[in-house]
């Protein structure tokens, strides 16, 4: 378990480092949310009163070290402060709401994209050089190279505006009350279709290419040939010998690519006005809502760390070579 221990230490250090970056980034940014609010509103708040407000919202000029320690403490106690824009909503609650949507969107899209992509990759590699392989490879290259913005906009254009099959955004019909009723769920699914489709398109190609290349690299291995020599069925060799081994690097690519997935989901959420983490972060950046920016970045980083940790764990489970006493 030394391997896992090492990783845990890394994750802790990474988390603290990320938290630190989070702390300093907004402090480097010019402007603060209060000033921002009044820059737009053209209100008559006097400079003195503005400063009084800043103080109340915690934009204090305490020594940076002191602020940092207080911040670290609050991070570890799960207190991310309160949103300025949505005062006094605690950041955790604001992001908690957003997180549900993003997890739903990203989670489902990743599962679908990963499954389809991996299967296509496996089959393409197995039938290397056939027309199937050529078509799948080209499609995958294409889908993995087109920016998420472009895919979202085109999907929105095609299915939202031109064909009018799906709504042009939002997580659900705003007039419906969130409840576990069928209406609401149907509305959520209906609204989620296009963002989901976008994410799946963006993700599938990458997984397919990775899996295909991993598979092809493995197909020359002796144990694959031995699997065939044993008279196992093609599908058995493909799945139990090749795919299973090729999956390992793909899974770790998945964890690393989660950062990109989050980036893709940010764009998709913005285009479709989906109330997830990415959109919340984006809005917070526009409003200079520092506590929310900090919180969102921290949660995203934590999600990356958790994903990597899960991958590490699954590595240990999937690959007996790591299971050292």
């Amino acid at each position: 378990m030394a391997f896992l221990l090492r990783r845990v230490v890394f994750y802790l250090a990474a988390f603290i480092a990320a938290a630190t970056i989070n702390f300093f980034l907004p402090r480097l940014m010019p402007g603060d949310p209060i000033q921002k609010m009044f820059a737009g509103a053209g209100s008559d708040l006097s400079l003195e009163n503005l400063n009084a407000l800043k103080l109340t919202f915690g934009f204090i000029d305490a020594p940076i070290g002191e602020q940092y320690l207080a911040y670290l403490k609050s991070v570890f106690t799960g207190d991310l402060g309160r949103s300025v824009r949505f005062f006094p909503l605690p950041v955790t609650e604001l992001l908690g709401r957003a997180l549900i949507w993003t997890v739903g969107l990203v989670g489902t899209a990743t599962i679908i994209g990963f499954t389809i992509g991996t299967l296509l990759g496996v089959m393409a590699a197995w039938r290397r050089g056939t027309r199937f392989d050529t078509v799948i490879s080209l499609l995958s290259i294409f889908s993995s190279s087109v920016p998420a913005v472009v895919v979202s906009l085109i999907t929105l254009f095609a299915f939202g505006y031109t064909l009018g099959w799906f709504p042009n955004g939002y997580a659900a019909d705003p007039m419906l009350d969130p409840a576990w009723g069928w209406d609401y769920i149907a509305s959520v699914l209906y609204h989620g279709t296009l963002p989901m489709l976008t994410m799946v398109i963006v993700l599938t190609g990458g997984f397919a290419v990775t899996m295909r290349n991993n598979m092809i690299n493995l197909l020359g291995e002796d144990y694959i040939v031995m699997g065939r020599a044993k008279g196992l069925s093609d599908r058995g060799v493909m799945l139990w010998y090749a795919a299973r081994n090729a999956l390992l690097p793909t899974v770790s690519a998945l964890a690393i690519s989660l950062g990109a997935v989050l980036g893709g989901s940010l764009v998709t959420e913005v285009v479709f006005n989906y109330p997830g983490m990415g959109n919340t972060l984006y809005q917070a950046i526009l409003a200079r809502d520092y506590p929310v920016i900090q919180g969102a970045l921290l949660i995203m980083t934590a999600a990356m760390l958790v994903a990597n940790f899960v991958v590490d764990l699954s590595y240990v489970l999937l690959d007996p070579r790591l299971k050292r006493a």
Partner: protein, 271 residues
Amino acid sequence: MSAPVLSIRNLTIDYIGATSDFHAVKNVSFDIGKGEFFGLAGESGCGKSTIAFAISRLHRPPALIRTGSQILLDGRDVFTLDDAALKQLRWREVAMVFQSAMNSLNPVLSIERQFYDVLKTHTGMSRVAARARAAELLKLVDIPADRLTAYPHQLSGGMRQRVVIAICLALNPKLLIMDEPTTALDVVVQREILERIHKLRQELGFSVLFITHDLALMVQVSDRIGIMLEGELVEVNDAQAIYRTPQHDYTKKLWASIPRLTGKPIAEVTP
């Protein structure tokens, strides 16, 4: 010699390239009799493994077995078999030990699972029965049954090679192909393994196609030997004949290059 187990006729195999082909095996013919230990020797890259792969039709593109080649196993031409028959043939009749023991076991499956694969596919054996059979087979190669739950990386190279041999014997094949089974091992381990094969063959009566480039070893273990040079089979003969009275210049040159442990360091080339 009675009807041969394996009979190769005019085997020609090319590797297709983008512009030109590489002729890896050129019109090779030889037989292996029942219970015979046949050695195939030759330098690296002369086409030995290519022949071995062709016997159970394991090649993948861009290898191409030219029309006109024949490989008869017990009189049946393997090139005419359909998929189902081919799967039957593999391992049941021809089992194979690959060049590198390190890599021929699936690293993520337990040893037991790799026995079970074969037994399940070919005999539909249950997991429990397969476990018993696997334990029995491991005993043949002198590995305690409790290693069944181990994963390949937990075994030493020699042990892995013996596990592969045990898996090969699972279905009592008629022909065991060993493609340089011991090159990665040191001499003592090599010796152990070959002694065991030698004994098992006497007990079980299978034939062996033994591929190596170590001529001295080959003469020690084989009944008959074929010498290959750049895709062609240049000489086939009794082991002793190959050693004592090599016919082909190439064979003679080979012997002349091998330092000896006793007597003169280098053998005289018999003119």
